[in-house]
Symmetry: C2
Subunit: 146 residues, 2 copies
DNA sequence: GTAACTGCAAATTCTTTGCACATAT
DNA sequence: ATATGTGCAAAGAATTTGCAGTTAC
């Protein structure tokens, strides 16, 4: 029902070959609890399959992205990858103090995107939102020691 | 009244030296009608001052950013620079087809940011929003030739 | 069997840094 | 006078590409 079950199928029906490497990348992202950089994905796979390399990581991610199975978010010039959610997008809160990220899901952006469409005749397909600021922890810390 | 008049002053009062190079970068961004990459800024300045170079471009932009005179937006792994608007942020619509960008200003994001603060105790200081999709022109073209 | 894919190394692109010289204060 | 800033060249980091060999179909 979710896109998770259909990765191999999606590859197959799109004419892409089902390789071990692509499955590794897919599985790594499925098991991850947060977005991962290409480097992180690669090194995790290398633990079990030492000949795996970064070029293949990028090439696999490119395919998975094209099939809308994976979503890339750029934070500070680096790309991070995670499973694409089915319907709704999700966004990132980045604490500029401790560097932590929080994911937010929900339809907060729907009215914004709607507005954009109305005002500019622009048909939005995806939105990358990174909100900078201070997370709850760092905020509390700052309050304690002003 | 706007931040535009106070670049030299801001540099001065912050203890930064007022150099020709920094003024060149500032003036280039003032004259620009859209955001520019470091490379674009540099080559424009080089037309009048051939010894100007990229390293100085980046270093000048860093200073101007720190003084909140300039805002950087990252699109597709590249940094683009423009004057920081006084009060309100502005965002970018990026046409994935023709590569054009449209700037949107306004307070569309205010309720979103407010919500985020409520829900996550996260204090937002800035938001980077890049909306991908299809601009009006490309949309019309697609409608004509389906 | 063959077109697609991988591994490796080298190339690209964007950005940062070290250091000798120049300059704003 | 001197701390800061610049120019140049070289280093870094992230990503892409060329190509010979491998593999899924």
């Amino acid at each position: 029902m979710t896109s998770r079950a259909s990765a191999t199928e999606a590859l197959h029906t799109s004419g892409y070959r089902l390789t071990m490497q692509r499955q590794f990348v897919w599985d790594t992202l499925r098991q991850a609890t947060e977005h991962l950089s290409a480097e992180q994905i690669c090194s995790r796979i290398r633990r079990r399959f030492p000949r795996f390399n970064l070029a293949t990581t990028y090439r696999s991610l490119e395919v998975l992205e094209e099939l809308s199975l994976v979503k890339q978010t750029r934070i500070g010039g680096r790309g991070y990858y995670e499973l694409a959610q089915d319907g709704q997008d999700h966004y990132h809160l980045l604490c500029d103090q401790c560097g932590s990220t929080v994911d937010i899901e929900g339809d907060h952006m729907v009215p914004v995107l709607h507005h954009i469409t109305q005002d500019h005749g622009f048909v939005a397909s995806a939105a990358d939102l990174v909100v900078h600021g201070r997370c709850a922890k760092c905020q509390a810390r700052a309050d304690r020691v002003p």
